[in-house]
Amino acid sequence: MGTVHARSLDPLPMQGPELGVQADDLDLVEPDHEPQQEVLENKDVVVQHVHIDGLGRTKEDILTYEIADVFRAKNLIDVMKKSHDARQRLLRLGIFRQVEVVIDTAEGADAMPNGLDVTFEVKELRRMTGSYNTMVGNNEGSMVLGLKLPNIFGRAEKLTFQFSYGTKETSYGLSFFKPQPGHFERNFSVNIYKVTGQFPWSSLRETDRGISTEFSFPIWRTNHTLKWEGVWRELGCLARTASFAVREESGHSLKSSLSHAMVIDTRNSPILPKKGALLKINQELAGYTGGDASFLKEDFEIQLNKRLFWDSVLSASLWGGMLLAIGDKPTSICDRFYLGGPTSVRGFSMYSIGPQSEGDYLGGEAYWAGGLHLYTPLPFRPGRGGFGDLFRTHFFLNAGNLCNLNYGEGPRAHLSKLAECIRWSYGAGIVLRLGNIARLELNYCIPMGVQSGDRICDGVQFGAGIRFL
């Protein structure tokens, strides 16, 4: 029997968003069974050696965990399946450009008659990859330089650096990531960054300089992240015409916070999922590890998807959050929640719902938002099987509310405040999926329940982003 090349088997369906970038909706395709293999199917084999060829700077000890399972295969089909799994595990480390599997009969002095040798032929990623872009926007140009150093010390550590130098602002970020050998889902990363943002809906300019460290680890089916973050925030007015309420928030503050996030994600894709659910709960406690800002912040995100008749999907989502100031200092405008816009309650202008002063939106300390969507393929299904599959039509119903907390009243009063004067909207539109990360929407929206002070965007609204209600 000759050599069996188990090269690049078809990908298995995704178990969740952590595993690599694979197109979803592909069902498991069994490798072709050639006539000779059927004879061997039930024959007992023993995997004697597993080699990895092509290692340069990668240390072998982290790889032994990923390939250990191959030794336990009992028959040929098992060997092929387990080596395919091992290949996936090696690829998700993010240190190899290419992994090929070669299964051959065992050779050498101690070769057994039913022994097999499995060899992984790998090509490591280059030591450093760089990218350079120039961006031109509204009255401003910037150049962006990116550097990525994968696997710098040989155990799948990754160092990324991004620097953006513009006519108006400069920002940078440096990030170091290290997984635990053998348990890639347990990892920690350290980030240093400076980010500037301009928020015209609040006439606010914010510059954040910060350091953060985070640990991620899975527990049973959930994924947890613990993070400490220290940020020096600098707020300023974006224009001379900023309202006095925003002017009062100008200045410097230091936030040192501990946060914990729990994610359960059983969806088959983060963008336009067809089935599954998402639960994300996040809490942040600031002030007990130093700094000026002192608060407790809770927010959650729930999304449920169900496939209906004729390739359409019903999706329901609910977001909510609460910000409690600890001590007598009021909350800062950069910690509060905002509502409205093409990625939130559609039909309203970006973050233009809720408490405001002279046209500048100040955000709120408690909010909730819900959405009900029906996604269907484009009518008459143009471009089916190709480009047309990236588009979906959707019909939506969004609702939400935002308010500030006042300690004089009790929790019941706050709940009733959030329940009255609900803003809501309905409409339909087209969604375009961009890769596996982002989506574009073009909707026709009809906002309702508009309160005085809200700014609406009825009619056609365009939105682009990563996270949509």
């Binding site: 001379r240 009062e248 100008s250 200045g251 700094g291 000026d292």
Partner: protein, 269 residues
């Protein structure tokens, strides 16, 4: 942008009268405010009292960053925000209140010249002593300036401000001066002011002008602030007419109006 902006502000505001809730913002009085900022704030308060315009004083830790020009004090009148004495004088003039209407052109030019002298000499000397003298800077100025903030932001902001002031001193040629030379400059400035004042109650005889407010703000603050050494206030005390000038304005415009603005001798710098 700033000069044009001031003119536009003035143009748009002639119609409205002075509101009851006009507010003046300055850094925290007890722990934070520095000598130079206190002098500027007192000058504006004195000017507004001389005009008979009521204003409330509000202390905020971030007053410097709230101000549109980055300098304190600033006033919030109606929905306008105006900072520093010069623009505030223009602003009140547009509303029909002015102290220098009675002056002729020669006197007005003289007044402007003396105000420039106070700003270039006294104010710069105050900034120099606060930030460029190492003893004062480390014992008094930096701890006070950074008092509202927590570690390490307090050190970052204090050193950033110190570096900025020292760079400005370099640019105007004061970096090479010694403390003695600065005291000497202050003394000469006071001599010029004392000569101009003479035996008159105010610089332009019977009625106070914005120059009186500015001089009062700086001299009174220096006299009532404890620094690392008393030399600065001693220089002023050697001119008796300046002393009685300060006392006169304090009695006329501050003591008889409300109690809580009474500024007593205490460690303010």
């Amino acid at each position: 942008d700033s000069l044009l902006g001031e003119v536009l502000v003035v143009e748009l505001n002639t119609a409205e009268p002075w509101p009851e809730n006009a507010t003046l913002y300055q850094p925290l009085r007890e722990d934070q405010i520095l000598l130079s900022d206190c002098a500027s704030s007192l000058a504006v308060q004195a000017y507004l009292r001389m005009c008979g315009l009521p204003v409330r004083v509000c202390c905020r830790a971030n007053a410097e960053y709230m101000s549109p020009s980055g300098k304190v004090p600033f006033i919030h009148v109606g929905n306008q925000v105006v900072s520093e004495l010069g623009p505030i004088v223009q602003f009140t003039k547009a509303k029909g209140h002015s102290l220098s209407d009675g002056l002729d052109d020669v006197q007005r030019a003289e007044m402007k010249a003396y105000m420039e002298l106070v700003n270039n000499m006294l104010l710069t000397a105050e900034l120099y002593i606060q930030w460029c003298d190492d003893t004062t800077s480390s014992e008094i100025t930096r701890p006070r300036y950074s008092s509202p903030y927590s570690w390490p932001l307090n050190h970052i902001l204090a050193y950033q401000k110190q570096w900025e002031v020292r760079r400005k001193m370099n640019a105007i040629g004061w970096a090479g001066k010694t403390l003695e030379q600065v005291y000497e400059d202050v003394s000469q400035c006071c001599q010029a002011l004392s000569q101009r004042l003479g035996t008159q109650p105010y610089f332009f005889n019977k009625q106070p002008t914005e120059l009186d407010a500015l001089v009062f703000g700086h001299l009174f603050t220096i006299l009532t602030t404890r620094l690392t050494s008393d030399e600065l206030s001693e220089k002023i005390k050697s001119y008796s007419n300046l002393l009685s000038f300060c006392r006169r304005i304090e009695q006329t415009y501050f003591e008889e109006q409300d109690r809580d603005v009474k500024i007593t001798i205490k460690e303010k710098l």
